[in-house]
């Protein structure tokens, strides 16, 4: 059994994708007669790490370094080709804010939809409804269809529903794109609260600045391999070398 002190364990995890996957029957048929090489592409190569409960970890790396694949493996939407992923506790992916939002439905209807997608029950949403709406600062717009929302409002609503699901593990993808400056401040305050409440947070980003301010630990990825793993201030110079 897994150690109870850990929220996430990756044990020699590799993930293979096939480039040029056949999505049409035509291509698959042609492939039978004229086989083309579908070169396997290893997004992650034999990666191991453990994240303790309550730790705030930033995963940084260039595009294609395997960051998002790690998040998807933690979220349980993808499965490793080799190795083992163990996750302990309710996960909330802030990967895509507003998963399942429908533009024709009102804000109210979308809160219920999105909330249940993230694993809440209807009574739980009833209970938190007012908090969600006030955090998102939507006011009268709550009963208008989502298509009339500005992109800022849309993001705010998505973020609000996500944080009120009370996750044990929070997965965050490029969080800093949310809304205006004021709202970003509010988000960070909320994230600080999570941190104090011993919630495990995994952030994937390019932006080193926020990682340095916010994370206890940084995992540096490059081409599917962990280049370095440690305190953010120590890793910063390594990262700057890498992106050059």
């Amino acid at each position: 059994m897994m150690d109870d002190n850990f929220a996430i364990i990756f044990e020699r995890v590799s993930k293979k994708f096939r480039r040029g996957q056949k999505l049409l029957l035509k291509e698959a048929l042609i492939d039978i007669f004229m086989p083309q090489k579908t070169e396997p592409f290893w997004a992650l190569k034999d990666i191991s790490f453990k994240i303790k409960k309550g730790e705030t970890v930033g995963i940084i790396g260039n595009n294609g370094s395997g960051k998002s694949t790690i998040l998807k493996l933690i979220a349980g939407v993808m499965y490793p080709t080799k190795g083992k992923v163990v996750v302990n506790g309710r996960i909330n992916p802030l990967i895509e804010l507003g998963a399942g939002f429908h533009p024709e439905l009102t804000g109210r209807e979308n809160i219920y939809l999105n909330g249940t997608i993230l694993g809440l029950t209807i009574p739980q949403i009833d209970e938190r409804f007012d908090e969600i709406v006030s955090f998102a600062e939507l006011g009268d717009f709550i009963d208008s269809p989502l298509k009339h929302y500005s992109s800022g409002m849309y993001m705010r609503l998505g973020f609000s529903v996500a944080i009120f699901t009370e996750p044990k593990i929070l997965l965050v993808d490029e969080i800093l794109a949310v809304g205006d400056r004021e709202f970003q401040k509010k988000c960070f305050k909320k994230m600080d609260e999570f941190k104090k409440n011993n919630i495990t947070i995994v952030i994937v980003t390019h932006e080193m600045e926020s990682v340095r301010k916010f994370c206890d630990r940084v995992i540096l990825l490059s081409d599917g391999i962990i280049k370095d793993d440690g305190r953010p201030d120590k890793l910063l110079s390594e990262y700057l070398k890498l992106i050059k």
Partner: protein
Amino acid sequence: MNKIFPYLKYKDLFLQLTLREIKSKYKQSILGYAWVVLVPLLNLLVLNIVFSFVFRVKTGNIPYAIYLFVGLVPWTFTANAISAATSSLIANSTLITKVNFLREIIPFSAIAAKLVDFLLISIILVIFLVIYHIPPHLSLLFIPLIFIVQLGLVTGISLILSSINVFFRDVENILNVFLTVWMYLTPVLYPPEFIPSNVRFLFGLNPMTGIINSYRNVILYGVLPPWNSFAFSIVITLTTVLFGLWLFKRNEKSFADVI
């Protein structure tokens, strides 16, 4: 409890996704949800004109219009539900790549949304039965059984096609042609006696034949379902559901890789 029956945990999600399907579809149109009833009625009108006045299909004591309607209503559910469920996973690709939940919920809620349409048009069917003076027979008690078999068949086929459609998008395109051909091979527009007796056993291999004939027997004629063909439909349904679940479970692990 959740271990024994994992679906219970997802009942709220199932409900919300179904509501989204229903609400979003008709929000933009003036007549709104009335279309659910209007489309089959217009269909019925056209088919009735073509087959009773032009081709003069004979259906004995039962007027052709009501004979057709009793077959067309369940057929429409089968066709619409399979069609909606097949494209449902692709339509919800963002959910599949971001959030982990029981994947079957997506095609199931697509079917459920069509089930609501089916119930509404069934009310119209009841009104028609009264207008045509078809008495309520005791055999109507078989309807739940026939319906469960039909729903099982639809679910099984939907699990198979939706999970294949993730890998081969052709399925979605060819499906409409297939459904049209399937309707003509099922005694929906004509009575089963129209099928030449030397090929009748071939038509019997179609599981919808037993289901449509059973509905007509218990609603229009007040007799039991034709047990031979209905029993065959039950066997096919069970096989399809089991195979569908197995295939879906096997495929779902790579949904997020390719979608």
